[in-house]
Structure formats: C-alpha cells, structure tokens
Symmetry: C2
Subunit: 234 residues, 2 copies
DNA sequence: TAGTGGTCTAGACCACCCG
DNA sequence: GGGTGGTCTAGACCACTAT
C-alpha cells in the first residue's frame, strides 16, 4: 500500500500531451494551454512543462511561438535520423572483417566540376584517391575522393596505402560542415567490375562534401555494393 | 562603455566546449570536468552546463555516463536528419505544380513477401494501389502501396481517385512507428515508362513500413524520377 | 504594450554505475 | 559506497511578436 507522491517527469508530460494530440483532445491547429496553466494542471513547474513541450516541438509535433503560444502541427514533421558511419565500423557492425585496397592515388589540378562543387579557386591542386572497402573478401564500397591540398597539405605526402582516406581524414582533419546527398547510379563496366555487380545494375550512392569553416576540404563519392540499403526506424 | 554582466547562455557553453574539443584542449577520449566544476569555471549553474552538455551529447560529440562522467567521443557520431515529406509538399517546395494520377487500385490477399515484411497473419486482405505523383506534367514519383484492410477498414471503400493514398492515410490513420529504407532500383520497362526514364536507369527508391502500436498498417515503395537526390547539411 | 515562450539562478534529491 | 549525471522545484527576468 504505497501512496507515493512522486514528481511528474517531463517524460510523463510528453506522453500525456502526445496522447491528447493523438486522440484529438487537442486537434490539429489548436492551441495548447500556456506553460503556466499546464504546470498548474499537472502540479509541476514551468521548467518541466517547458522541457516536454520543447522536445515535442523538436520532434515535429508542435509549433511554438512566443506570444501566440503552442500549436498542434497539422501534419507532424516526421523526421529520420541517420548516423553517418565510418566505413570500417559499418562493415564490422554488419559482422564482416574490414579490409582496404588502394586503387590509385595521384595529384592533379582540380577538374572543373569539382571547382564548381566545392567553390574552389581555379587551378587548385587536389589529391585524387580511388579505393575499395571490403567486407571479408566481398567488395563493400568503392570510394572516389578528392582532397584539397591547400586545405590539407599533409595529404601531399600521404600515400594512403595503409589507411583509407576516410579514416586518415577523420583522424587528422577537423571539419565543421558536411553536405551529404543520396542518389542512385547506374553501374558502368568499371563500377560493375569493382563492386562485383553486373553492368547497368543500380548502385546506391552517397556524396559528401566537407568544409572547415567555409574552406573546402574534400569531396567523395561512395558507391555501395548491390543490395545495400540504408534503414532507419522512427 | 558598457561593462554589462550578462548571463552565460547554454549556447555560449556549447560553443566554448565544442571549441575546446576541436582544438584538442580536451582531446578524444578525455574526460571533461564535472558539471559542477564547469559551472564554477563559467560562473553559471549546473542547469545551464547540463543543457549544453546534454545537447552536445545528443549531437554526437560527447558520451555521458553517470559516475564515469562526460567523455569526448573519439569519432563524433555525425548524423543527418531528414524530414519525411508528404509528396505534395515536396513537389510544391521544389516549385512544381502537384498532380496525381491513379493507375490501379484493387483488393487482394496479401502476397507472401508482404506477409513476411509486415508480419501479417496469413491470408489477410490488402488494398493494392499504384499511382503517380507529378510535378507539372513531369513524373516525379511512382508509388506502389499496400494497405492492410483489417487495420484500416475504411480503405475498403475508398477509391483513391481524388486523393493519393499518401495524403489519405496521413489524414485518416494514425501511426506510431515507421521504418524507412533507401535503396537503388534498376528500371525495368514498366518503371522506365512510368517515370520517363530509360531502361536500366538507376532509380532512387524509398520503402516505408508503418505500424500503429504493433499493428501493421501499410507498406509502400516510392520510386523517384531519374536525377532525384536527397540532400542534407549537417 | 502585453502575453507567451526562452532561459537563467539556486538548490535539492535521486538513480545509476564504477571501483 | 560514493561520485556523477538526471531531473525536479521555485522563482525571476527577458525577448519576441501579435494586437
């Protein structure tokens, strides 16, 4: 027989509020009571209510504005979160033994499309690396990468025979901004050979551009072996 | 000459801490001072420090555990957030006029792969809808969807001539869990015709499974027109 | 200009987990 | 067992913005 007087947690509040949204106690576009009123209703403080509502807003269920109040979003913004993994970890997480093969590594002047893509100065030098990441003996991902030498001078000497540019960069070079794109690529003969795919097979592809405080660092295209899919629950 | 004594904001703290991580004042795997100590250092309260560190942990930079303290993540978990858009909005956001064409809609017993995918009971009935979403007159997305009738009885009568199943479901059916996958599909002749692609072109594809508290609601494959890419900054 | 959320201070108790 | 983060209370001032 315990009649405990536990505190109400912000998690409880979240659940209750979400319940009232789902059962239309607070229908779409309606305005919730103020934080102060809710705090009274649940015998708690504004701080607790605030955290609950803030997180729900962050999750896309509510829209909050000063003065106008907290409104139920008509169509909740469902959002997915993806981890951007390091290849090695992705391979080992899937239960494979990670291996790495360098295909080529050379210094050249940045091709025009890359200049445009990263907003480089004309004629800047880049190191171009192509390599393969394997899971056991199976190709897992083909990486085609360009590193801006002016931003990463160390990459001039580095040969990338031992470590993949992926890992090397993570270790050596800080970055502040990444742009990631996901797309599909049709396999030409080269890609097919590298990834053990057949010609014309559809290849899931990621592109990453990286900057350090506005300075372009690197651009990479990552081609995954056939059958790869990126999955998330929300 | 103002010598204001402003409060330190949790945003300031976040920035400072992130700075110290990036310039290796606090290198990878090192342990940060306790919240109490940091509060002293910045002449603020634990509450403020806590919020800053909590958010940084949430963003993947820190790892926090009771008793052991707050540790700098060796490889920050970079993560991307994607909105799961409603097709209509995605089209209009890209500046197109949204249009919708129903291709087919019929009731049948769930195919075996779908039974497995959604963990259905054997022999359950589903409504199978195929339709096309257009931007102006260009195909934008081909939708291939199955709705579990036992979970969504209203879908038995609905013809989906006017509204796409996408919008209809958002309006009518609540859901709690979604699983989203992204992959690449090779266009067969049908897909090529529908999307205005050529045979064998690589098609960016999304799969979504939806449940309401454990009960399967619907499964959809969404095929995007050639050239589509999903992009995010982080 | 007034109402609402945004955030900070100050202090407290507690849960988890490492040693 | 004890240290660290997790969270709550209580109260205050402020910033934004609708009216």
């Amino acid at each position: 027989m315990q009649h405990s007087k536990e505190n109400v947690s912000f998690r409880d509040i979240k659940e209750i509020v979400l319940g009232r949204i789902k059962d239309s106690t607070w229908p779409s576009d309606s305005i919730l009571p103020t934080e102060t009123d809710l705090a009274k209703e649940f015998s708690t403080t504004r701080t607790t209510i605030n955290r609950a509502l803030r997180e729900l807003a962050d999750e896309g269920y509510l829209d909050r504005k000063r003065k106008s109040g907290t409104r139920v979003r008509a169509a909740p913004i469902r959002q997915a979160r993806f981890k951007i993994p390091v290849v090695r970890e992705e391979v080992t997480e899937r239960g494979g033994a990670y291996r790495y093969n360098l295909i080529s590594s050379e210094i050249s002047s940045a091709p025009e499309w890359l200049v445009a893509k990263l907003d480089l100065k004309f004629g800047q030098n880049v190191r171009h690396i192509r390599c393969l990441h394997l899971s056991n003996t199976q190709p897992f991902q083909y990486e085609n990468r360009w590193i801006v030498l002016e931003s990463v001078p160390d990459a001039r000497e580095e040969t990338f025979t031992e470590f993949s540019p992926n890992e090397w960069l993570v270790q050596k070079v800080p970055f502040t901004d990444i742009e990631v794109s996901f797309l599909a690529t049709r396999a030409d003969q080269l890609l097919a050979d590298l990834l053990g795919a057949s010609l014309n097979e559809a290849i899931f592809t990621t592109e990453r551009s990286t900057w350090l405080k506005g300075t372009p660092v690197t651009f990479a295209r990552l081609y995954f072996a056939p059958g790869y899919r990126m999955t998330t629950r929300l």
